[in-house]
């Protein structure tokens, strides 16, 4: 016998709706079951960084601070830019969440391939790997926020009640980041080109987002296209609640939140369904 028997109606292949429900239940169950692994992995990565580098968490501040200085020189000395807040604080309030997003993407893209010994030898929900990277970047984000607090004190920007909305904004950003990282990590496992494409993508994306300048100055068709980018409303929301004491612009922020939720749901499901092919394709 060199071929399997012809495919009967396979009882293990249920109706798509039932399969969807079962998959969603399994995804949630596994994440609950393995929540401690998520924390242990995060702790591992933080511990490794702390052990292997002299600066430790200093590195998480260095990147946004350097960018802030460079762009401050450009946009206060070379070209004057009207931003509604002192430019360095405007830039840093954009660079800090952007750095959270970008470094999550950068490290998560290789999270499956660099842990190939784990992926080929032990079963656990693989989304733990990119998710723990996001948590590590979140710690960096919190450390970097100390600098933001310092800048706010220096420029005399007071806190408003709107700061209470911070967890909501962070949550939306995490959801969006999670959706993107799952796709990237999975994509890079099957095609190693993804890692290289990502560098270009991140650079382009940064300038398509209101990180160091308001992109709504770009009008026309391109401006309309850039308006779809969910990262701009997220970053503008940080500025609104932290620097201006206003609510985030409802329409764009709701759009960003909706995109984040849908993207995460779709990419997580795709990730979960492709998971069993990881070990043999890595």
């Amino acid at each position: 016998m060199t071929n399997p028997p012809p495919l009967r109606q396979d009882p293990s292949r249920p109706h798509p709706i039932v399969a969807l429900r079962d998959d969603l239940r399994e995804m949630i169950q596994e994440l609950v079951q393995y929540r401690e692994l998520l924390l242990t992995m995060t702790r591992r990565d933080l511990l490794l960084r702390y052990k292997q580098t002299i600066m430790g968490f200093g590195w998480s501040i260095l990147m946004p601070v350097t960018y802030m200085i460079v762009f401050s020189l450009i946009f206060t000395r070379v070209v004057k830019l009207e931003t509604g807040a002192p430019y360095p604080i405007y830039a840093y309030a954009g660079l800090l969440p952007w750095n959270f997003f970008a470094s999550s993407l950068r490290f998560a893209v290789g999270s499956l391939t660099s842990n190939s010994t784990l992926v080929t030898k032990v079963y656990f929900p693989r989304e733990i790997l990119p998710f723990s990277i996001i948590l590590v970047s979140l710690v960096d984000f919190a450390v970097g926020a100390i600098v933001l607090a310092g800048l706010m004190a220096w420029y005399g920007v007071g806190l408003h009640w709107t700061v209470l909305l911070l967890p909501v904004v962070v949550l939306v950003q995490i959801l969006f980041t999670a959706g993107v990282t799952l796709l990237l990590a999975m994509g890079n496992l099957f095609f190693r080109d993804v890692k290289y494409l990502l560098e270009i993508l991140i650079t382009l994306w940064m300038f398509a987002t209101s990180v160091v300048y308001p992109v709504d100055r770009i009008g026309g068709q391109l401006g309309g296209l850039l308006g779809l980018n969910p990262m701009t409303p997220i970053i503008e929301a940080y500025r609104a609640i932290l620097l201006h004491g206003t609510l985030p612009a409802a329409g764009p922020f709701a759009w960003a939140a909706a995109v984040s939720v849908v993207l995460l749901a779709v990419s997580w499901l795709a990730f979960h369904r492709a998971e069993f092919r990881f070990a043999e394709n890595i």
Partner: protein, 402 residues
């Protein structure tokens, strides 16, 4: 505990030879091809082959199944399907309960973390809670025998220490199901003994286990059933002794054609009395079967072989012909008395049946195992029943005084 279950139902697994396209450059032509011609799942592509073909088994609580076979037979693929690392192309795999899998253990230890940190990492990868690991921490360290090295980064460990740490964590999991790959060969002899005893204890507590090993003796003494995989197919299934015998035969003379049946049937072989038997002790095996009426010019014979599982070699073989025995027509019991003049170890007592021919062994029949342990100490392949006496030589003492 005790409600774990392992089941594989008609599993087929397809693999691809050679390089897989993992860059976009290769993907685009590949996508084009697959769009033009959809390949049914049951067919093999040019570079594809079946790594497993129609493999099924059930392991109930308290049972241990050993999987043996040559390299590349698909043993590890079976285990990887069981622990959900791979999905079968056809068929189903079912595992009920929490899985303790020991597949190339130690491979998931992180070199830059200390032993202590790795215990927590490894434990949580296997699904243990932090508090649970903390509770067992001391036991794990003690079992591993690492002592003060526990706070040293794993990259400074010797490979033996590495493996011992990996096994110790896995051995302290509270599992419902055990999946073990070649970890019986971990560490030095003393640790191997300890690891083996630990697994034996888990199986006796009712944890169903699937074990892959090339150490046939270990399979023989740990498992109560076995399958022999050859090129992805189940070539033999049944008692460990039968599969081990089939494996040994397959390795020494692969692909011997099946003898035509001639009506002689062997049903079972049983050894009475306690085991292990001391070296030089006697055993009696009873082979039961049924012989057809005698015909002119055709003699039915039953062969008996004893095979060492350490070496895989036949150490002794005989048959009813050499003993001038005629088998009666109808059901019979053949008593075979053997004196185990062999060194301690595990031996398979195999049977063969068929018409006598000079160049053939006949069909293989049932087999069983004998443990030989203790008795007069000696080394070498044969017990020669040595007797020793010593006496002072006459006058030797006086001469030396002169």
């Amino acid at each position: 505990m005790g409600d774990g279950l392992i089941r594989l139902e008609g599993v087929w697994k397809k693999f691809r030879r050679g390089e897989r396209h993992d860059s976009l450059r290769d993907l685009i032509p590949a996508l084009g091809r697959s769009l033009l011609r959809r390949q049914p799942e049951g067919d093999l592509g040019r570079q594809e082959f079946w790594a497993l073909q129609d493999v099924s088994f059930v392991v109930e609580p308290g049972e241990a199944l050993g999987i043996i076979g040559p390299n590349g037979a698909g043993k590890s693929t079976v285990l990887k399907i069981l622990i959900r690392l791979l999905r079968p192309t056809h068929g189903r795999a079912l595992l009920r309960g929490r899985v303790g899998s020991l597949i190339e253990i130690g491979g998931s230890l992180h070199p830059d973390l200390t032993g202590r940190e790795n215990i927590f990492l490894q434990g949580s990868i296997m699904g243990m809670r932090r508090a649970e690991i903390a509770r067992r921490f001391d036991a794990i360290v003690e079992f591993s025998g690492l002592g003060d090295f526990i706070d040293t980064p794993v990259k400074r460990f010797s490979s033996g220490m590495h493996a011992r740490l990996g096994f110790s964590v896995a051995a302290h999991l509270e599992t419902d199901v055990l999946i073990i790959d070649e970890v019986l060969a971990v560490g030095d002899a003393a640790f191997q003994r300890k690891a083996f005893d630990r697994m034996k204890e888990m199986v006796s507590r009712g944890v169903p286990a699937v074990i892959v090993s090339h150490q046939l003796e270990r399979i023989a003494s740990l498992c109560n059933s076995a399958i022999l995989l050859v090129q992805g197919r189940v070539a033999c299934e049944g008692a460990p002794a039968e599969c081990i015998g089939a494996y040994a035969r397959q390795q020494s003379a692969p692909a011997a054609a099946e003898e035509p049946t001639d009506g002689l049937r062997l049903d079972a072989i049983a050894i009475a009395g306690p085991q292990p038997v001391p070296s030089g002790g006697r055993i009696e095996a009873v082979v039961s079967g049924e012989a057809p009426p005698a015909r002119q010019g055709l003699r039915h014979i039953v062969g008996v072989r004893v095979r060492s599982l350490q070496t895989g070699d036949v150490v002794f073989a005989t048959g009813t012909l050499s003993h001038r025995l005629e088998l009666p027509a109808g059901p019979f019991d053949l008593a075979v008395e053997l004196q185990m003049n062999v060194p301690p170890g595990i031996y398979a007592v195999e049977t063969t049946s068929g018409p006598w021919r000079r160049d053939r062994d006949g069909r293989s029949g049932p087999a069983t195992l004998v443990h030989v342990d203790g008795g007069q100490g000696f080394s070498g392949p044969v017990q020669l029943n040595c007797a020793m006496r010593v006496a002072p030589r006459d006058g030797a003492g006086e001469k030396s005084r002169v």
